[in-house]
Subunit: 159 residues, 2 copies
């Protein structure tokens, strides 16, 4: 139910949130998110149009989030690129139903509402702060710092 | 998040459930569901392939549900034409994540799980039995019987 575009938008925003408020270039985001550069450029355009990210030119320019990660929910990112289409009126166009959905369409709409609730309850800051061995976008269990610690070996004994 | 194909499949199945166990022709289903005939034929093919409906040739043939409406859930119909793709492994293919999803993808998957639960809890029989002014697929408030009653006027006074 989540398209490739939604998946890529979320990866890009998670990366930007992890670096916020510093801007990142499209190449940096592509490398961190494993998203093909051309596809990513289109997704970033959508996110800019919807007011999720902004783009700054210049030497230290790049793309950055407009809101702080603590104020941005997964739902806002999804809706920025492919809005969840709630069922507000009868899809058959039956005048007698109008906004009073039949039991089929009201059940379908309730299912969509549960998705909105689930995604609207999580901010990007929460996604990044959750203690986990699987850090978003990061190939190292426990995150980059843990990988660097492992690479440099245990601290030398002192005393 | 629900495609046109899913919407049409559900309408067709609701109509078949309302007539079950009698078979209906594609033309009859198209008329009842307001689905373009060619599109409907493809959707019915998918439903037949997935074992939701069966087709019988002959004078009194047509398309009918394989299960009783009380045993068929909305989720089964959705999954028959466009399965809800749960996120089972890391979409980035990160070996370290594998089946231990990161907080982003586990939240996305939990949202998909809520959809499965919402749709899996309703059978077609429940959809049709729910008391409502908006009867599924029916343009008359209160259903066809109520419309027929209204058309023939109140019963003549007796005695």
């Amino acid at each position: 139910m989540f398209s490739q575009t939604v998946e890529y938008a979320l990866r890009a925003v998670v990366h930007l949130a992890s670096e916020a408020p510093a801007p990142r270039t499209t190449d940096q985001i592509a490398a961190a998110t494993l998203v093909p550069r051309a596809y990513l450029a289109k997704v970033l355009q959508s996110l800019a149009k919807s007011g999720v990210v902004q783009s700054q030119r210049g030497l230290h320019g790049g793309i950055s989030l407009i809101k702080a990660p603590a104020d941005l929910t997964i739902l806002e990112v999804v809706n920025a690129v492919e809005p969840i289409q709630r069922i507000r009126t009868c899809p058959l166009g039956l005048a007698a139903h109008g906004v009073r959905l039949c039991p089929l369409h009201s059940r379908m709409d309730r299912a969509l509402a549960t998705v909105e609730t689930a995604l609207g309850n999580s901010t990007l800051a929460e996604v990044l702060a959750e203690p986990t061995e699987s850090v978003p976008l990061c190939p190292y269990p426990g995150g980059v710092k843990s990988a660097l610690r492992a690479r440099s070996g245990p601290p030398a004994p002192t005393g």
